[in-house]
Symmetry: C2
DNA sequence: TATCTCTGTTAACTTAAACTCAACAGTGAG
DNA sequence: CTCACTGTTGAGTTTAAGTTAACAGAGATA
């Protein structure tokens, strides 16, 4: 049937709210998208979209068409996914979204090895600290710590997300080694501004649990920036072990309270719940878990990587 | 997405059980179908169909793909249908299946007038007395008398299907006018072999109901052949009024028992039950009912047509 | 077992659809 | 009022789809 080929284009126009954005995502020009939509409307004998150069909305016919067209596209996608999952080699473009620091330090290094193992997969890695709408942005996997899954997202744990309070040896030499977390009130505590309750630090040891309200004169929304400040002997900070682990091992930073644990925000992969998980997504998740080391990630262990 | 355009082709191959038959129905060559299927399999990285030159079967992947692909195609068809029904002008190819006699006498004459009224519709009229599988044969409307609808077919009555026992004036002059149906046992009764219980004729008048077992030396599976025998003074036969009506009016045949009625097999249109009835089907049904004259069809009335 | 018929495949070529480019009209935002 | 970016469309290019023709293969039939 004639119009079926235009369905992905029509859905993309709605999804990305415009011909230009849809064209970009589809890898076409806006004129191609425009022609295909016009052709579809001619075939159907009905206008699907009201559009000016700045506004776009569905007509009544367009709304009806959209409902069924989306079902058709989803079914077609499921058809493809179930086959590629069942028998075919993982292939296609995998769009991965990860926070800046974790992505830079631990996701981007694994990509070349992943692609080497699955040569038919191509990867589009997006590093961004902002929360992402997987559906709207066409993201296959979003990596997050402290997951807050959407009703239609699945969260799969990639690694634990331990954190510790640390400082450089230089800082300790100058300001003293605190013997108890309560002494942090006397120190310049750098804060990660994206954290919930960034200035409330919780510590646990055996049956002891304490919460310290800390403060300092520097906060940033980037953990690596904080790390660099620490390396220069500037204050103490609570850093995830995936950032500080290497420096700890190298002796450049020191965990101030090694016998205490802090609440951890585990690292998760989020993906859209669907009947058949595309194989490329599944193999990526399996690969990442193996690569990171599951419950004992390489950044938490003695051996370097 | 790449493979969606091949879905109708893939579904057609399964539906028509072969590349050649599918090609014919799709208006393509068998090599085009072959190429498109091969290309789809290459995209998916999986074989969908086992095929030799004489046999065709789905692989496991093919079965999985088929289930979803059929959903996609149905949804795409619904998308198109609901729009063309909502707003568009009726268009497209309408495949009508009718029995030989009724089709020849009453359906084929209405087609030119129907197409004149709906110029964007094209018609493929198939006259065949065999029962048809609407799904397998890609038939939009099948006209039948004495409907036996399938669980997923809808029956819509087009006209009543009266019948009468008749003979030519020449036959009556030679063999006498029977005064009661029971006297038919003394006559040469021609039978329509496709009829259930072809030799059991039921008559009703007021409160009288009688059933006569008749016989004769000629039976045929074509009512028009029987009509021609009657016109030549050869026997009596039970004919539908849609065949005999015109001859009765012209005085060429005589209804032997005009005060009796016989069980009638109404004339129905059968079509596949679906959420959105294609507009071309709906307008055809409306047109046919109007054309035939609803409960008082033109072949049953005095006025000629 | 040999022959025939009809299937599906595929190379070479043709055709049609899809697409790009470029220029333009139109519309909100500032 | 100007600007930036939208969607449209004619002209031309590119690519995919399709056809033709030849062929190998597999059931059916004699």
């Amino acid at each position: 049937m004639d119009g079926i080929g235009a369905i992905p284009i029509f859905i993309a126009v709605i999804k990305y709210k415009g011909f230009s954005a849809a064209a970009e995502h589809l890898g076409l020009t806006k004129s191609a998208v425009s022609k295909r939509i016009s052709q579809l409307e001619a075939q159907l004998g009905a206008k699907l979209l009201h559009r000016t150069t700045r506004k776009l909305s569905l007509t009544e016919a367009g709304e009806q068409y959209y409902v069924h067209a989306l079902k058709a596209l989803t079914a077609a996608q499921d058809a493809q996914d179930c086959v590629t999952q069942l028998q075919g080699e993982p292939q296609g473009k995998l769009r991965i979204h990860a926070p800046m620091s974790f992505g830079h330090l631990h996701v981007s290094p694994l990509i070349p090895e992943f692609i080497s193992r699955y040569p038919k997969i191509s990867v589009d890695l997006v590093l961004d600290d902002k929360a992402v709408d997987l559906v709207a942005q066409g993201v296959d996997v979003a990596i997050r710590s402290g997951h807050l899954p959407d009703s239609n997202l699945v969260a799969r744990k990639l690694a634990p997300g331990n954190s510790m309070v640390c400082a450089s040896p230089e800082y300790i030499a100058k300001h003293g080694q605190p013997s108890h977390p309560s002494q942090l009130t006397e120190h310049n505590c750098l804060l990660f501004s994206y954290s919930d309750n960034a200035n409330q630090w919780h510590f646990s040891q055996d049956k002891e649990h304490c919460q310290i309200e800390v403060n300092g004169n520097y906060q940033a929304n980037n953990s690596e920036a904080l790390r660099q400040a620490l390396l220069k002997g500037f204050g103490v900070a609570r850093l995830p072990t995936f950032i500080a682990g290497k420096d700890i091992k190298a002796g450049k930073l020191v965990n101030l309270f090694p016998s205490y644990t802090m609440p951890h925000k585990d690292i998760y992969a989020l993906y859209i719940a669907r009947q058949y998980l595309p194989k490329k997504v599944r193999v990526f998740l399996d690969f990442a878990i193996e690569y990171f080391g599951s419950d004992t990630p390489y950044w938490d262990t003695e051996s370097d990587r």
